[in-house]
Amino acid sequence: MPSRDGARAARSPMAAPRSFLWTRRVVLTLLAGFVLLPVYVMISSSLKPLQDVSGKFRWIPDGLTVQPYIDIWDTVPLARYFVNSLIVAGAATVCSVVIAVFAAYAVSRYGFRGKRVFTVTVLSTQMFPGILFLLPLFLIFVNIGNTTGLALYGSRGGLILTYLTFSLPFSIWMLIGYFDSIPRDLDEAAMVDGCGPMRALFRVVVPAAVPGIVAVSVYAFMTAWGEVLFASVMTNDVTRTLAVGLQGYATQNDVYWNQVMAASLVVSVPVVAGFLLLQRYLVAGLTAGAVK
């Protein structure tokens, strides 16, 4: 086997043998099928009438209807959940990325006392389970509310704060890696030319790091958009996000599966579209920081 493969490969170095091409075709088709299965179910079921999704599953819908897409807004206050998710995920993203830019610049470009403690803390808090922070933050919020009247528990501001527990360390860590990959000569040259460190940061480092900053922002937003744990504890009827709100399509008697699927599609389209549009950027940005 080695000699035949070798002979073929030697003629044209990168050409893979036929057997590999067939394996590749089969494996990639299977993986694509696995990935697409729920996507197909989501789309096709969202176009079925209720009696159809309540009965036996059918690959090909009997009759198509867009009624679920109209009903989803009335069955639960989906628009409000949407706005809440947008505010919470957006604010958490902006806060963590802005703060992380400064912190990552300091870590990437300066040596200072306590640097190691800081980076190790950031790295380790990133791996702690969310449940670890949920219990104490819940108690702290309730206590602050009782003593000062400040309504953190149940408010969007409180929820944003809890989202920073995962998005801030993640953003700092990714941006340190990204800033490290930008040649120091760039901002050092700017400083030699008379720029201050802050000007060097905003005129040289930040523009050069745009792909990384975009990538980190999108990832932070996506994580916040999909967060369930804090949202399920820290929200009330008014501040509920999509993560919890989608459970509202299940009533005691029935689950409106066609509406659940329609709503899932509606909340997914913005993030998936953004992700796929920026995909090349994102892969480069994520990996510059992570794969070294």
């Binding site: 893979a16 043998p17 494996v27 697409l36 702690f128 104490p136 920073l164 993030v271």
Partner: protein, 336 residues
């Protein structure tokens, strides 16, 4: 935000002065030394991050540890300072494996280990396979690459709720295929309760998690110089040998980080089981995060919940430390 904006001009001006001075003094030396003294500038840049880290990580962790030493039931939620101090009692309850609470915790721990092993293993296997198969360009590669990232981009609750629908006993796709179409099972099975639930959980977790492995490994593969493969091919190495001798060794550093990250995410995962099963997971798929959530927010026993959290944290720290020690030793060995 406002504080950073107001401090910016000040820092800018003062430090610009020093940098101009040093720049002028070191005309002949273009490089500014790494450890140049710029007073408090790095600390000023770090200040917002450090304050927030204190607020959202360190203080809650201290509170969590204090809570684990108190008898914190629902009567003391609004004023936990008044909860009686009980010392190690919560820990004794949590690790008393003969009593119901400890037994359930131990069971949940085992379930989580089994789940993590299979979910991480399969996610890594799928990821590395797809990355190797998409390493060379061919028609449709860009499309497949984007497609494979879709599970990663979909919000967890939307994707997992769809899986929950597919696993429904009477109107789900899984039973339709397995029972109606292929006739593998005698009767429609339950997937979200009972002993099948662990399989459902693993399938969903792998579906959700493998694209991340794929993403990281694909990026790592792009850094391997093509000349290595060309040289190997001229020496007569087939595809399999190229994968074994060039691809896999080059991936080792990324794999080490990736496996650790996948382990931590999977072991700590709350979102997937919570959306798939709801507040109370079936015993066979009772992951540790859900278990702690359940003991805290459903039975309102925050004291034991906190003790369990602290134990979980200690376990993760030990595993991570051992893992880092082993992999760094391996790395040194391979370099020597």
């Amino acid at each position: 935000m406002t504080t950073t904006v107001t401090t910016d001009p000040g820092t800018d001006r003062s430090s610009r002065g020093t940098s101009r001075g040093s720049g002028g003094a070191r005309r002949g030396m273009p490089r500014i030394p790494d450890r140049i003294r710029r007073g408090g500038l790095p600390y000023l840049l770090l200040l917002p991050a450090v304050l927030l880290e204190l607020l959202i990580h360190l203080i809650p962790m201290i509170v969590g540890i204090v809570m684990s030493f108190r008898q914190l039931t629902q009567f003391f939620i609004s004023n936990w300072g008044a909860a009686p101090w009980t010392g190690l009692e919560n820990y004794e309850i949590a690790v008393d494996f003969d009593a119901p609470i400890g037994e359930a915790l131990l069971h949940s721990f085992f379930v989580t280990c089994v789940f993590t092993f299979f979910a991480v293993g399969l996610a890594w296997l799928f990821g590395v396979t797809a990355a190797i198969m998409l390493q060379e360009s061919f028609r449709g590669r860009g499309f497949l690459r984007a497609l494979f990232l879709v599970p990663y981009a979909l919000p967890v609750y939307a994707a997992v709720i769809t899986w929950a629908f597919m696993f429904q006993r009477d109107n789900g796709l899984v039973n339709h295929v397995l029972h109606d179409q292929l006739g593998i099972t005698d009767q429609p099975s339950f997937w979200l309760i009972g002993d099948n639930s662990i399989y459902a959980l693993i399938v969903v977790s792998v579906w959700k998690g493998w694209p991340f492995a794929f993403l990281m490994l694909m990026a790592a593969l792009q850094n391997i110089p093509r000349e290595l493969y060309e040289a190997a091919a001229i020496d007569g190495a087939g595809v399999r040998q190229q994968i074994r001798r060039i691809t896999m060794p080059s991936l080792r550093p990324v794999n080490q980080v990736l496996v650790l990250v996948l382990f931590l995410w999977t072991f700590n995962d709350f979102n997937t089981p919570y959306v798939l099963f709801g507040k109370a997971a079936p015993a066979d798929a009772d992951l540790i995060s859900i278990h702690i959530y359940q003991s805290s927010f459903v039975t309102w026993n925050f004291g034991t919940g906190s003790a369990m959290s602290v134990l979980l944290l200690l376990f993760l720290l030990v595993v991570t430390a051992v893992y880092l020690f082993l992999t760094s030793r391996g790395r040194k060995g391979s370099h020597a």
